[in-house]
Symmetry: C2
Subunit: 228 residues, 2 copies
């Protein structure tokens, strides 16, 4: 089975920029993706021996990666019983969205103050690209660009702590949002909200952008609510 499940390891790389990434670091990303994409569903025990063999790594870096993810809140450490993928209740999700909403509102305000014109233009470009994907019906790319836009706005706020906190919550929620496939009319509404966002950003209208971001997030929640 798992022929190519293992992480690519160059036993002896030819030339090239060598291997600068630590294994535990690679594993963090890999496991995170596995959790987000549902390869590891909530409640699943992370079996060190089995999982390690499946990925072609030993237990040590794997355990280190798990500890990292535990701090991120994606897995839960149970003493003497290993780690399980954290399961979020409806209230948990709602709580996260409440905080995320507040953070995005803050990000909107800060972005209007701190962003460079070039930065705003980049977000606009992402947005236009996303609209194209929307029109083409490409849900996956739409979804990815959507995330990118929100992250980009946070980046424009130029606040490292804000970016950190936002990133953590975004990651925790990705698993949920990924499932959310809204219908055509709701999808259109989401795109319209995005358009509003960009316009507000370009006008550097703090209050407006903040308001739209907050509303957008809560609407997004309404759209996928049923699937949780």
């Amino acid at each position: 089975m798992n022929e190519n499940t293992s992480l690519e390891r160059r036993p002896d790389g030819g030339p090239g920029p060598i291997r600068r990434t630590a294994l535990h670091d690679t594993l963090v990303s890999h496991l995170r993706d596995m959790i987000i994409e549902g390869d590891l569903s909530p409640g699943t025990r992370l079996h060190e021996g089995q999982l390690g063999e499946q990925l072609g790594v030993s237990r040590t870096p794997l355990r280190e990666a798990i500890k990292y993810l535990a701090s991120e809140g994606l897995v839960e450490l149970v003493p003497s019983r290993g780690a399980i993928v954290k399961r979020f209740s409806g209230k948990d999700v709602h709580d996260m969205l409440t905080v995320l909403q507040t953070l995005e509102e803050l990000a909107g305000k800060l972005a209007c103050e701190a962003a460079s014109d070039a930065g705003i233009a980049e977000v606009r470009a992402l947005h236009d690209d996303m609209v194209q994907r929307y029109k083409a019906g490409d849900r996956l790319q739409y979804y990815k660009l959507n995330q990118q836009i929100h992250s980009a706005i946070v980046q424009l706020a130029a606040n490292a702590a804000l970016a950190d906190m936002h990133g953590v919550l975004q990651t925790r929620l990705k698993r949920i949002r990924f499932i959310g496939h809204e219908g055509p009319e709701k999808w259109a509404a989401a795109v319209a909200e995005h358009e509003e966002m960009i316009v507000a950003l370009e006008a550097r209208d703090k209050a407006k952008l903040s308001e739209v971001l907050g509303r957008h997030l809560m609407n997004a929640w309404e759209r996928v609510k049923t699937s949780v």
Copy 2:
């Protein structure tokens, strides 16, 4: 030398609920405290061999603990060169405070809605206790109760994600705040703000509590600014 530097381990505990804590978990708390209290100052390299010997543990659980703290943002992982205690710039601190302010404002609003009367009474008790410590000039206990009160209000908000994010930032800032020894008049101002907070909480005045919390945090920053 380090006779009692090592973590207490009961080789065979007497009665009692046995030892349910994993070593790496204990190490996380221990290292965190060492960083906050300045035993490990910013820029210090976390030498696995040396530190492990000093604490009486092997490198494996120590490394796991370091990975956990890295995710918390207290240490920085440098590939092939280990971990160093993260150094925060003035802007970093300001950024964190901005976010923390927003989170506390949110906590205030939510707490006014969700808190039980008993919960509010507990915070009031903490506050009264803190005022006693203030009058007695007991800075350390005052400081601890101060932190407890802020955490307690966040708890009253009954939002796990909020508590998480707040906790992370609070931890990162503890190291800074710990240094801040304000003068008598500023100290008095801080106590007065706390009094305002409690009153607003007891009145379940969302807007007021939120406003005071935000103001309090920024004032706290002004008070210690010079020491960073």
